[in-house]
Symmetry: C2
Subunit: 242 residues, 2 copies
Amino acid sequence: MSKRPNTSPGKQLSSSPADELSHIPLLKILSSTDRRRVLQDLTERHYTKRDVIFREGDPTEYFHIVKEGTVKCVKSSPEGKECTLKMLMPGDLFCCDAAAFEGAFHPGTAQPMGDVSILRMNKKSYFDMLRRNPDAAIEVIKHLGTRLNEAQEKAKILALDRTDQRLASLLVDLATKNGVKDPQGIALPMRLTRQDMANMVGTTTETAIRIMSRFKRDRLVSGTATRLIIRDLARLKALASA
Amino acid sequence: MSKRPNTSPGKQLSSSPADELSHIPLLKILSSTDRRRVLQDLTERHYTKRDVIFREGDPTEYFHIVKEGTVKCVKSSPEGKECTLKMLMPGDLFCCDAAAFEGAFHPGTAQPMGDVSILRMNKKSYFDMLRRNPDAAIEVIKHLGTRLNEAQEKAKILALDRTDQRLASLLVDLATKNGVKDPQGIALPMRLTRQDMANMVGTTTETAIRIMSRFKRDRLVSGTATRLIIRDLARLKALASA
DNA sequence: TTCAAAACATGATGCGCGTCATGTTTTTTT
DNA sequence: AAAAAAACATGACGCGCATCATGTTTTGAA
């Protein structure tokens, strides 16, 4: 059996134990009969750091769920500058909007931050599921509402705050939503370079490095890309909205 | 009957002719039996320029539809700076996300740009409607998806582009989505000051004025707040993504 | 129509941050 | 373990845009 480059072939989730998917809110609320049906339509795929899950401009074909790992959602400008819109974590849905309905195209690129596994479902099965199951549709509405609020909050921060404040906001956000406890403070569960941070707050790598150096001197953070630790969340919060 | 200050009391839409609401996508897709029911739950309200429809931080109580006029969606920072996230036009939904479900608060302020009329519905009726009518839920998902894409596109522009490019993007966007034909070019259908524009692209009033003056000299636009006209959409587009 | 309040305009000044440049340290690959 | 490639670091310099200041013009209310 020949292996395709960079992405493992899709795999049926024939007999997944219930608990494997129990941490995904959308699937948890399905009736047990419907869940079996949905499991048949879902396919699991694995990606690594150098893959792209889909590219900006590609036609939309699937609805996706992050099962494991971190996925970044990126847009880029004609001149090659990049902007990272969102880090998707396990349980997050993407391409769940019906803009993906008819002949639509991906507005951004989805790229793994490391090894990830993704569940996906073709559009038809997805919308059939939503039509059969109004509570699932409401769950999707809830998720999209949250995402919209986040995106608007991000726009506000980009529009009004200085670079150091935006960076502080980012760290607070990541620590709060995804941080794991650590003897030194709060550790971020994904590899995150200064370049990644720069792309998330709309600045250059150099400026992100300078500001992070300052944060380090001031004992607000410690560590580097492979293991970044937030040491003083309170002071970062204060700086973020100063 | 005592009149409440600034807002007209709610009015039942008892016997609205079908055509009055036919331009609202969400209502158009309801079955005719359900539409009658929904009409009973909808209330019409009128607001003027100095009212607020709801304020950032208020508890969410209603689902809203813009029937007539323009509503702006604003966030503000502790220091009093403001950021306008979105102009809502007739047919647009707001607070349609289920974050408004349980004890949630408005993430921004909704403010009329002039005289507007709004249809609204309490949360329970709204979610009942969605549960009865999966196609309506999918319509809401579609709307939220569009809004999310817009918000992310806006974040990208704020993160990557210069101020004159952001302003050009804004004008292109408004002209394309809401512009009406005019002998001179494309007229924008709402009163829009340089301050409004500044708040939409994350800059100061002075800078917005300076750039708009330049655009005027270069024959890209003409007119002022009360009647702004886009005269060369193509060149504005070119500037926006240069 | 008149007057006050917004909106528009334009200059001077300074700082934040982008850009380019050069070097060190850490991580990843072979 | 060694080599290659990222990531981190720090300085010099200049432009874009915020800030403050001082008019003029337009709009809308009395």
